[in-house]
């Protein structure tokens, strides 16, 4: 019986097959890496909110301070989405109850109905009622402990992590919020440090040399960010 020999082209074909396989595998891996990279996955996250609250209008045009609503940001780890009562200060509808008068701006607006429902059903805090369920935009993994107050009190502006919220009609995640991104600043904080009085001025630009300004304040505030694991992982 005659022995069977593979034809010569098989050698080349095998090589092509292997290289092709590696190439395709590499391509897919790159795609996957790209697809799950925080820069790709997180940046641009823009969920639809139950009430189309416009930061552009409130914080931008009306120049309301961030801390009017996010009032716990200097005291707590959470910046805290405000209670509906804060919205109600202006948009309470025409309810006046027990001496608490609520604002009547846009009192008939259909878009504000969830806020009014929350206020009405909660009965001035005696019931939980039907609170507004906001969608979380900036979401960190559960094993990461981020504290707003320590950053705000030490001269890191909202804009460093959240971008120009005062120009956003719908809040969008601007930064990847990945560990590498956090560490970038923890290692070289200077360019994100400013006078703690000015942290909520999202359009702030230091006069003159921005780098020198950041350095000056970092020195003044004795900013030495920690990069140990337990700083954020507990």
């Amino acid at each position: 019986m005659q022995e069977f020999y593979f034809p010569n082209w098989v050698n080349r074909f095998t090589m092509i097959l292997i290289l092709g396989g590696l190439g395709v595998g590499g391509y897919l891996a790159t795609c996957l890496f790209g697809a799950i990279h925080p820069e790709v996955v997180n940046v641009g996250h823009q969920p639809k909110q139950p009430v189309p609250f416009s930061h552009k209008l409130h914080a931008g045009q009306m120049k309301m301070d961030c801390r009017y609503c996010h009032n716990t940001v200097e005291k707590s780890g959470h910046a805290a989405v405000p209670p509906s009562a804060t919205c109600g200060n202006c948009h309470g509808g025409n309810r006046v109850k027990e001496g608490a008068s609520l604002g009547i701006v846009q009192q008939e607006s259909v878009l504000l109905q969830p806020v009014r429902t929350a206020l009405e059903t909660a009965d001035f805090g005696r019931e939980i009622g039907e609170p507004v369920e906001w969608e979380r935009v900036h979401d960190l993994p559960d094993f990461v402990y981020f504290n707003h107050s320590v950053h705000i009190n030490r001269g890191v502006s909202c804009v460093s992590c959240h971008g120009r919220v005062d120009t956003m009609e719908v809040v969008t995640q601007m930064k990847p919020l990945s560990m590498a991104w956090c560490l970038e600043c923890h290692r070289n904080p200077e360019k994100n440090i400013r006078d703690p009085q000015l942290v909520t001025q999202l359009d702030f630009k230091p006069e003159g040399d921005a780098e020198a300004y950041g350095k000056e304040w970092a020195e003044k505030l004795n900013i030495k960010p920690n990069v140990s694991c337990s700083t954020c992982h507990r």
Partner: protein, 1134 residues
């Protein structure tokens, strides 16, 4: 092992016949049952490979479409945020938890409206903390109550018995209507109440109201106070409560008593005891003598402990009284040639007489009233009454004895004198004496109502079961041991619409529903006026409201005769069985608490079981073997109990903990109707109302015994023979041996004071020796031939017999103290440390790094009583799951902090050293945060790394579970999450995790501390020095203008709970900190320092204060100096 598994894992999920298992309350329906079942893993069973691939492919596609983001989360803010509520910022509220008739003042930590942790009240005189900046101290029992609140087994609605043993859910309206029918009238002659002891003034007011209408109120608790009360009645003609001033006492004699643990004032006693033994700051140390049949926590802290059967304590007291009288008359003399036990008696008597007015003789509840009365007389004779011991009148001084009351009640029920019975809490069917046949009496009763937190053994016999609310859900009041009026306020609305006992009673005895706040406020305002209410509510108690001291005058009573029976040699027969409270489940009330069941007993280290504890000699004589079941019988009934050999037990005396073998406790404690095996063994048949605490008629049948492995954490860390051998060698460490160090150190107070005075007199001329290379010291010591009297004897717990005893070493008689070189005490060799990693030593020892913290911990072995409070505090703070008996048996318990206990022979007295009586040292061990950590170097993924502040960080999300770090850790403090323990197994035993519904898991999640990551399967974990607390304090300090952190500002959870202030945490670099001072204390030493790990946790050597006449081991020099050369590592650890 297989057999073992079958035994403990067994049981199918049966349908509960009481419908309170699930939050949804719907699980009875087949559809719901199916949903629940599919929720937990069974869905994947039987799925074909093709289908699985399809599913996976689909989810992958879905994931890609969703951009692989996390699950979207919602933010749901309040509509109206409560005033001063800052989301994410915990708030503390003062309230109280009652345990066995004493209010325990607590601070409850509430996180976003969820109570998640209990500590003592820092302002309250009972629970003040020795460590500043900590909340008050609290026992494991108190802290454990946070777990009950979220227990899925708790009763969720009133239940009404419809037919033999079947209950249906009812509601408040129907229930209160039924109860009003019984209690609403003005003639309540046929109504009886059976209540747990309570110190609630509001409840007592209701009781008075009830009694004024002719009702009968009976109080019963299995760990009552009948003997103590009757003793004081005999001695003083009235019931008074004794208050012991441990801070004033110079000599304390405890006879079968455990004032540091099983006592309403245990926290205060422990604190004062520790303060009086703060050896650096006192000139005279108190001396604690304990005579007892089983090991108590107090006994393990004693300077002299003698084991004696409980039934012979009376005889001992007779001899002690006779001896005291002799010394008082001036005829007493020391007898150096007498036997050790006689010498001990003489020492006790002479000490008591020498310290007239500054001594205390304390007798435990299980002794008969006559012994209590005799102790009162002895204290009176010695002038202690009125000085170290004061008296007050308890709120319920007038009530009759518990056992007598219970007898009247059962006969009244049998004779139909009572047709209605209201049981307020408790579980009398389980824990009342079996001979009174309470269950028959209750089921014969027409109307029986049980107000209970769980549906337990007693509930089954009642017509109605009402779900009382948790103490953290209700208003209440109560008197603490000292009589201070404390207030309880709710932290959450009742999760299941329960109401408190006072609300139920008050509502039933009036026409309308009464709110708890109204009752409590009315009673408090009646006593203290309107003005103080808000302040008291904030503080948790009314300042200075403790009861007035009552003066007492002694009646004519006789001391027990000096019959000398206690001196008799043991005849080799079983003398008695002693029923002790369980240090885990108390009297059984905490049987459904996973934390408590898995809490190792302080001395036996047994978890998830009770066992008959016998001394090695007793076991040998009676032919009993370790971990085997033997039948014990009494009056013809027998029970098989596992035997555990325990040094320190009195010869012929067997101790067994009550509170086990519950058959209707729940998913943890056992439930017969749900096929959940009970935990441990019920010993009710071995005792009756006559032999309640001590039964001298129990027989044990000697047979081959069935094997019954007990889950003892003690041996979990002795991995193999190599480890064992090393432990063995380490026991025989010679102080001059530079290659090994011993694990624990101990010396006598005399030698310590001597050392201190030498140090003071040398002053500055050796000031630099602290910084000098320690090796130099050693060389000089070696050159001068230090005198090191050593006794080496080994007691091996595992084998239960005394091991080889080693000859005394005597390296000559020189004394090197004159060199002024010794800077550690006792004089042990300190190893010359060398740097493996450049800079490690600098970082470790650095003391002037600018604005940089370096954390460390110090644990004072002299103060630690082994009470286990820190273990539960750690578990509560750090979301540590329980694992179940089977997993503990395999060595997989998750406690980040364990307490090793070591048995050592008496170091001070040769005769005592040869006896069975061992000295105990407790050593809490958690991660040492080594500067040169062996675990860090072996991690392949850098999941455990060193922080800039010296912490050994553990990054869970990086860990891939190789367990190399655990292998390389010399202290064996790393815990591996073998299975998904954190997934709901806090409320079920491990293999039964699927018993919990999704809703119940959600309920459990409410208990978790949100500041700490909940770890998953396959991840290594360990003590983090409470890094969440460190970070939070740092964040606060930075917010306040980047101020430096206060010297003792950060406290760890274990430190907070410690009743004796043994644990110190702080900044090594801050010379102001307590920790810095502790680390520079001459008693300070590092465990296994020769390994060059530079551990940040250090220990302070134990100091004992033996009576001079009992120290015969060092009569070779002019000075007395002792070395603890060895001890048997009970918990094998290298």
């Amino acid at each position: 092992m297989n057999q073992f598994n079958q035994k403990f894992n067994g049981g199918n999920v049966g349908k509960p016949n009481l419908g309170y298992q699930d939050l949804e309350r719907l699980n009875q329906s087949p559809e719901m049952q199916k949903v629940i079942e599919e929720e937990f893993g069974t869905a994947m069973e039987g799925v074909s490979r093709r289908r699985w691939l399809q599913l996976m492919g689909a989810s992958l596609a879905l994931g890609a479409a969703a951009g692989c983001r996390f699950q979207p989360e919602k933010i749901v803010p309040y509509a109206f945020r409560p005033q001063n509520r800052i989301p994410g910022t915990p708030v503390r509220y003062a309230t109280l938890i009652e345990l066995d008739g004493f209010a325990q003042p607590v601070e409850a930590l509430s996180f976003d409206g969820r109570p998640i942790k209990l500590d003592g009240n820092r302002m309250h005189p009972m629970t003040k903390n020795l460590s500043e900046n900590s909340p008050g101290t609290s026992s494991a029992f108190t802290q454990n109550r946070i777990l009950d609140l979220y227990d899925p087994d708790r009763l969720r609605s009133p239940l009404k018995q419809v037919s033999g043993g079947n209950f249906e859910e009812s509601n408040w309206g129907d229930f209160i209507a039924a109860l009003r029918g019984l209690l609403g009238g003005n003639d309540l002659k046929s109504v009886a109440v059976l209540a747990e002891p309570s110190a609630s003034p509001s409840l007592h007011k209701l009781r008075e109201q009830f009694e004024s209408r002719g009702g009968t109120w009976t109080t019963f608790a299995p760990l009552g106070d009948d003997n103590t009360r009757e003793g004081s009645r005999l001695a003083f003609g009235k019931v008074v409560r004794s208050h012991y001033a441990f801070d004033k006492a110079k000599v304390v004699v405890c006879l079968d008593a455990d004032p540091l643990h099983f006592d309403g004032a245990a926290m205060k006693h422990s604190r004062e005891f520790a303060a009086a033994r703060d050896v650096e700051h006192i000139d005279e140390m108190n001396r604690l003598y304990c005579v007892e049949s089983d090991n108590s926590i107090t006994g393990s802290s004693a300077d002299h402990r003698m084991s004696l059967p409980s039934s012979k304590i009376g005889s001992f007291l007779g001899s002690l009284a006779a001896e005291v009288e002799k010394w008082l008359a001036g005829n007493g003399k020391l007898e150096p040639t007498a036997k050790y036990r006689s010498k001990l008696l003489i020492a006790m008597a002479s000490d008591l007489v020498e310290n007239k007015g500054a001594g205390m003789v304390i007798v435990g509840e299980r002794q008969p009233p006559e012994v209590h009365a005799a102790a009162h007389k002895l204290n009176d004779l010695l002038g202690n009454n009125g000085s170290t011991i004061t008296f007050s009148s308890p709120i319920d001084a007038e009530r009759s004895g518990m056992m007598a009351g219970l007898r009247d009640l059962t006969s009244g029920l049998a004779s139909k004198k009572f047709t209605s019975l209201v049981i307020l809490g408790g579980n009398p069917v389980y824990d009342a004496p079996a001979d009174l046949k309470l269950s028959d009496a209750i089921s014969a009763c027409e109307n029986s109502i049980h107000l209970s937190y769980y549906a337990n053994e007693t509930s089954k016999f009642c017509n109605w079961v009402f779900n009382v609310s948790h103490p953290l859900e209700s208003w209440g009041d109560g008197l603490s041991y000292d009589g201070t009026w404390c207030l309880a306020q709710p932290l959450v609305s009742p999760l299941f619409e329960g109401r408190s006992a006072i609300e139920v009673l008050a509502s039933a005895m009036s026409d309308a529903d009464v709110d708890g706040q109204t009752i409590v406020a009315a009673n408090a305002k009646e006593k203290f006026g309107e003005s103080g209410w808000t302040t008291a509510l904030h503080n948790g108690f009314f300042m200075d409201s403790a009861g007035e001291a009552v003066s007492v005058s002694l009646e004519t009573i006789e001391f027990p005769g000096d019959d000398g029976k206690w001196r008799d040699e043991w005849d080799g027969k079983l003398v008695e069985m002693v029923f002790t409270p369980s240090r885990s489940v108390y009297d059984g009330r905490f049987a459904n608490s996973g934390w408590m069941q898995e809490l190792p007993d302080f001395v036996t280290k047994i978890t998830w079981d009770n066992a008959a504890l016998v001394s090695p000699e007793t076991a040998e004589k009676l032919g009993l073997k370790q971990d085997r079941l033997y039948p014990f019988s009494f009056n013809g009934d027998d029970v098989t109990l596992p035997v555990h050999i325990q040094p320190g037990q009195a010869k012929g005396s067997i101790a067994i903990a009550i509170g086990y073998g519950r058959t209707a406790a729940g998913a943890i404690g056992g439930h017969r109707d749900k096929n959940i095996a009970p935990v441990g063994f019920d010993v009710a048949t071995l005792r009756n109302s006559e032999n309640w605490y001590i039964n001298e008629s129990v027989e044990v049948t000697k047979n081959s015994g069935t094997s019954y492995p007990l889950a003892v954490v003690q041996e979990n860390w002795a991995i193999d023979s190599v480890g064992r051998e090393e432990i063995q060698r380490r026991m025989f460490v010679d102080p001059a041996d530079g290659t090994r160090s011993n694990l624990i150190r101990e010396g006598s107070f005399d030698s310590f004071k001597d050392f201190q005075s030498k140090q003071d007199s040398h002053g500055d001329d050796h000031g630099d020796s602290h910084a000098s290379t320690l090796g130099r010291t050693v060389k000089q010591v070696a050159a001068t031939g230090t005198a090191l009297p050593i006794i080496n004897a080994v007691f091996r717990q595992e084998d239960g017999h005394q091991g080889d005893s080693h000859d005394d070493h005597d390296h000559g008689a020189a004394d090197d103290h004159g060199h002024g070189e010794q800077h550690n005490w006792p004089n042990f060799h300190e190893h010359e440390l060398f740097d493996l990693t450049p800079g490690v030593r600098e970082q470790y020892k650095s003391s002037n790094t600018e604005n940089k913290n370096s954390w460390g911990m110090s644990i004072d072995l002299n103060k630690c009583t082994g009470c286990n409070s820190c273990v539960i505090a750690c578990q509560s703070e750090n979301n540590i799951p329980i694992v179940g008996k089977d997993q503990v048996y395999r060595g997989r318990e998750m406690h980040w902090m364990r307490i090793d206990r070591y048995f050592g022979n008496n170091l001070y007295n040769a005769e005592a050293a040869e006896s069975d009586d061992k000295q105990i040292v407790h050593q809490p061990v958690a991660c040492h945060h080594c500067e040169n950590a062996p675990c860090e170097t072996v991690c392949p993924v850098a999941a455990t790394t060193h922080s800039s502040e010296g912490l050994n960080d553990m990054v869970y999300n990086r860990c891939i579970g190789t367990r190399y770090c655990g292998n390389n850790c010399p202290y064996k403090v790393r815990r591996f999450n073998y299975l998904n323990y954190s997934d709901a197994v806090t409320f079920v035993k491990y293999p039964d995790a699927d018993r919990l519904s999704k809703a119940d898991r959600a309920l459990q999640n409410l208990m978790m501390n949100p500041e700490v990551t909940v770890r998953s399967r396959g991840v290594m974990e360990k003590c983090s020095y409470c890094v969440q607390r460190i970070q939070n304090v740092k964040i606060v300090a930075k917010g306040e203008g980047n101020r430096p952190i206060g010297p003792n500002e950060i406290t760890t959870a274990c430190q907070d709970s410690c009743p004796t202030g043994a644990i110190k945490f702080g900044d090594i670099n801050n010379t102001e900190s307590d920790l810095h001072k502790a680390h520079n204390n001459p008693r300070s030493y590092a465990m296994l320092s020769e390994l060059n790990n530079y551990p940040r946790t250090k220990y302070l050597a134990r100091v004992r204060n033996p009576h001079p006449s009992l120290m015969d081991m060092d009569d070779r020099g002019e000075r007395k100096r002792k070395m603890m050369m060895n001890a048997t590592p009970g918990a094998a650890l290298i």
